[in-house]
């Protein structure tokens, strides 16, 4: 793979991860957002694969396959089950409306670019240049947690944050040992399992997963 092709492919994949975050904020149907998270996982796997192929690291390619299976297959599958289990199809009213959240997301992207300038300046490598994208995905994931009411959406937001962290990891370290990625993967899997169980419990207890109604549980 030539250097130009590598840079183009890497930027495409990493940019896709960020664009999908915006899409997830923009879309309302829960099932569609879940599909977006799956695509994001796929893009993330592509980032790992591109780096692995360019640097001839077979282990990183293996990691990419693992990431693809987990983040584009298993985890979104679990989420889809959670969506199907409830009768909620869309986020009815978020805390702030869609245009406002898109604006906020743009601002967060700016923040991430502004704050990582020193990191980017460390190395001219194209991977390092893309690190702000990962930070922006993390921040947008948090924004999604804060502004959405449905617990299922928040599960997806947690996955998005994790995707962002993984993106920074691939870009910043150029090659993660398989063991570490396995550990992280099992952590995320466990977290999603727990979240799914909790969401089900909330639903059976309160008839919905609107977290704002939990406020009455205080004190």
């Amino acid at each position: 793979m030539s250097k130009t092709a590598f840079v183009q492919l890497l930027d495409l994949a990493a940019g896709l991860v960020l664009v999908i975050s915006f899409a997830a904020l923009w879309l309302r149907r829960l099932a569609t957002v879940a599909r977006m998270i799956a695509v994001q996982g796929l893009a993330l796997a592509a980032v790992a694969a591109v780096i692995g192929i360019y640097e001839h690291e077979s282990e990183l390619v293996g990691v990419a396959v693992l990431v693809g299976i987990l983040r584009a297959g298993v985890l979104p599958g679990l989420i889809r089950r959670a969506v199907r289990a409830g009768d909620e199809l869309r986020e009815v009213e978020s805390i702030i409306n869609v245009p406002a959240s898109l604006l906020a997301a743009s601002a967060l992207t700016l923040v991430s670019y502004a704050t990582t300038r020193d990191v980017v300046a460390l190395s001219p490598a194209p991977q390092v240049r893309a690190i702000p994208l990962g930070i922006a995905v993390v921040l947008i994931g948090m924004l999604m947690i804060v502004t959405r009411r449905k617990a299922v959406l928040q599960m997806m937001a947690v996955l998005m944050i994790d995707n962002g962290i993984a993106l920074v990891m691939f870009l910043g370290t150029s090659g993660v040992p398989l063991a570490i990625e396995l550990g992280i993967a099992s952590d995320v899997l466990l977290a999603v399992f727990i979240l799914q169980v909790l969401t089900n419990r909330i639903r059976t207890k309160f008839g919905g997963t609107d977290l704002d109604q939990l406020r009455a549980l205080r004190d």
Binding site: I95, L108, S112, A114, T115, R117, L139, M142, D212, R215
Partner: protein
């Protein structure tokens, strides 16, 4: 020798804690008492050995704790306070056997008690900041557990423990900050390093260290205005613990002030002494006025502790003032007076608290207004309590007299002084000490008179019986100690010299000369022989008795009933109560104390001119609590309520907080 004794003390205390943990209830109380008494005896022996001239004991255990490890530096100043603690702890532990068999015998109490005794003896022996703070906290926590001992029957104990816990933790904060500043500036956290390096701190920093230490240690000593925990916590603890807290624990606050201010820092400007003196004067007046009006016996004793600590602070403050004006010999006399009063107060206040405990366990009440007539029912308690009351009132053949006499001598003889501060402060101090002396006498006439004399004012007092033998042993031992300290202060002249020499900022040669019988103060034309005084008083009493006898022999005596002014019988309701006894003095100090007085008059339904019942209730609120602490607590509570608005229970809001934090951190750490 000293090291071995301290080791035995530690081992005995550990065994006592183990006994408190594993043994069944009755055996537990007995063994904890015996082993703790043994531990205190060993600690006392170590202290006496140092005071009698053994070299000071130092040891270093660098691996015992992280940070600096623990250093032990046991010099004569430490020994004075360790001996004072042991002096109360041995009788109190024996007393605790009898007391615990009918009272608090639970495991936490029986484990905390030996720990308290041991830490009381070891705090003065600490030789570095880490050691001092750790031992200090052990002491604070074990005493807190003991204050809570009776919380199941007594909700008051919980409030008391809350106040105590808060004050004691804040005071620890002040102490730690003071010592850390000092250690940082001096370049070492062992006392030896701090002593030699204290000169490197600027005068401003030194004064900050001193004031923080005064605040922190003063809170433990229970001086105004940080005394609020003391009249709450001391009454609620079991009585042998109250005796330890009053007799030994508050003294460690005094130890801290002397150690940090005039040993580690090596003394400072004259206003240090003036501040301590003013705090002492205020505490003495405030304490005794509240004691005067109190009708709860243990509360009365607790306020009297504030008063006595005030007297000791007066001695230390005066010593500081004298030293700064260059009058070193007089400073040594004032310091010796203060240290002697530490020991004396330990003896008589321990005795009085144990006596109050005997009364409480015999009658179930501490309210003087419902006691009375106990002298006949509890003769040993009455006799020993009388000794304690006479001693605390500083009446001649007893020990309180000696130290207060020394204190007054040092204050009076400063007067032809060129320093303005001394010339202004000392006459005031003398007047306050004199006034306090009079009020103490009135207070303890009230306490002894209403509790032990006249007729019982309640059924409980009527059915009282003498306490068990172990408790009597504790009382008699402490009473004997009061007498011994009174008759033989000449023995203490040399130990007191060693202790004052250990305080570098105040010391000089020899404050008290003695030829075995006669005490001669150095630099002052004043002397006293307690032994001769006591003998003289004894001879006078014998002569007086003999004269009365003679008159009886020579005149015929007829017993006839006195004219009852038309009354046919005398009931307990005709007697003075503690409240009514203090009423005239309450009127005198009305403007200072502002007592709340409620008088409810119930009329008969038939006619307004006939009165069914009158209820009189007097309550003296602590002015500092009302004006300083409660408003302060109000501010804290309002701040807390305001903070609750931030925490409204919405998960989204909490998550927003973390998002904002993340962004702020990202921007700030860029």
């Amino acid at each position: 020798m000293v090291g071995v004794a301290l080791g035995i003390a530690a081992i005995a205390a550990t065994l006592a804690m183990a006994a408190g943990c594993v043994l069944p209830e009755r055996a537990r109380v007995v063994w904890v008492g015996i082993l703790t008494a043994a531990s205190a005896t060993a600690g006392g022996v170590a202290g006496i050995a140092v005071l009698a001239g053994s070299a000071r004991f130092t040891a270093n255990y660098p691996d015992l704790l992280p940070l600096g490890g623990i250093r032990i530096e046991f010099d004569a100043l430490s020994a004075i306070f360790t001996v004072a603690a042991a002096l109360v702890a041995v009788p109190a532990s024996i007393y605790g056997i009898g007391y615990g068999l009918h009272g608090p015998s639970s495991r936490p109490v029986q484990v905390a008690y030996p720990l308290l005794v041991w830490s009381l003896m070891m705090v003065p022996a600490a030789g570095n900041v880490t050691g001092l703070v750790v031992l200090w906290e052990l002491m604070a926590i074990s005493s807190l557990i003991l204050v809570l001992a009776e919380h199941q029957h007594n909700p008051e104990a919980r409030t008391a423990a809350q106040w105590y816990a808060v004050v004691t933790h804040l005071s620890l904060l002040a102490i730690v900050v003071a010592l850390l500043i000092l250690a940082h500036g001096a370049g070492g956290e062992s006392f030896a390093a701090m002593r030699s390096g204290a000169g490197r701190l600027g005068p401003g920093v030194t004064s900050v260290v001193f004031l923080l230490a005064l605040l922190g240690f003063g809170a433990k000593a229970g001086v105004v205005p940080v005394h609020v925990w003391l009249p709450r916590a001391h009454p609620e603890a079991p009585s042998h613990v109250s005796a330890l807290m009053s007799g030994a624990m508050v003294k460690l606050g005094i130890y801290g002030v002397v150690r940090v201010g005039w040993d580690l820092l090596g003394g400072g400007p004259g206003w240090w002494g003036a501040v301590v003196l003013i705090v002492g004067l205020a505490s003495a007046m405030f304490g005794i006025l509240h004691a005067l009006l109190a009708s709860d016996l243990k509360r009365l004793l607790a306020y009297s502790t504030t008063e006595n600590v005030g007297l000791i602070f007066i001695g230390i403050g005066a010593a500081g003032l004298f030293a700064s004006t260059g009058n070193r010999p007089l400073a040594a006399v004032a310091l010796a007076a203060a240290l002697l009063h530490v020991i004396n107060h330990a003896a008589f206040k321990g005795l009085l608290f144990l006596g109050a405990g005997s009364i409480h366990s015999a009658t179930g009440t501490r309210d003087l207004d419902s006691l009375g007539g106990l002298a006949r029912r509890m003769p040993v308690t009455a006799a020993t309590f009388a000794v304690g009351a006479l001693a605390i009132a500083a009446l001649p053949p007893l020990n309180g007299f000696v130290s207060e006499w020394l204190l007054l001598q040092s204050l009076v003889h400063s007067l032809p002084s060129k320093a303005v501060a001394v010339a202004v402060a000392m006459p005031v101090a003398v007047a306050v000490v004199a006034l306090v002396g009079g009020l103490v006498a009135a207070t303890f006439v009230k306490a002894f008179g209403t509790a032990f004399l006249a007729m019982p004012r309640s059924v409980e007092a009527e059915q009282a019986h003498e306490s068990p033998r172990t408790m009597q042993i504790g009382l008699v031992a402490l009473a004997g100690m009061c007498v011994a300290l009174a008759l033989a202060p000449t023995v203490l002249a040399e130990p007191l010299r060693r202790a004052t020499v250990a305080v570098a900022g105040l010391s000089s040669g020899r404050p008290i000369h003695t030829n075995g019988v006669y005490l001669q103060l150095s630099g002052i034309q004043a002397g006293l022989s307690p032994l001769l005084l006591a003998t003289g008083l004894g001879v006078m009493m014998v002569v007086a008795l003999a004269v009365v006898r003679r008159r009886r022999v020579h005149h015929t005596v007829r017993d006839i009933p006195a004219w009852g002014c038309g009354r046919t019988l005398q009931t307990a309701r005709m007697e003075y109560t503690a409240t009514s006894f203090a009423e005239p003095l309450q009127r005198v100090f009305d403007d200072v104390l502002h007592p709340e007085i409620d008088v409810d008059v119930d009329h008969r339904t038939e006619s307004r001119h006939y009165i069914e019942a009158i209820r009189y209730r007097r309550q003296t609120r602590d002015a500092f609590e009302q004006r300083l602490y409660l408003p302060l607590l109000g501010v804290v509570r309002r701040a807390g309520d305001a903070a609750r608005r931030v925490q409204n229970g919405s998960i989204h809001r909490y998550l927003t907080f973390s998002l904002i934090t993340l962004i702020v951190v990202l921007i700030a750490a860029r």
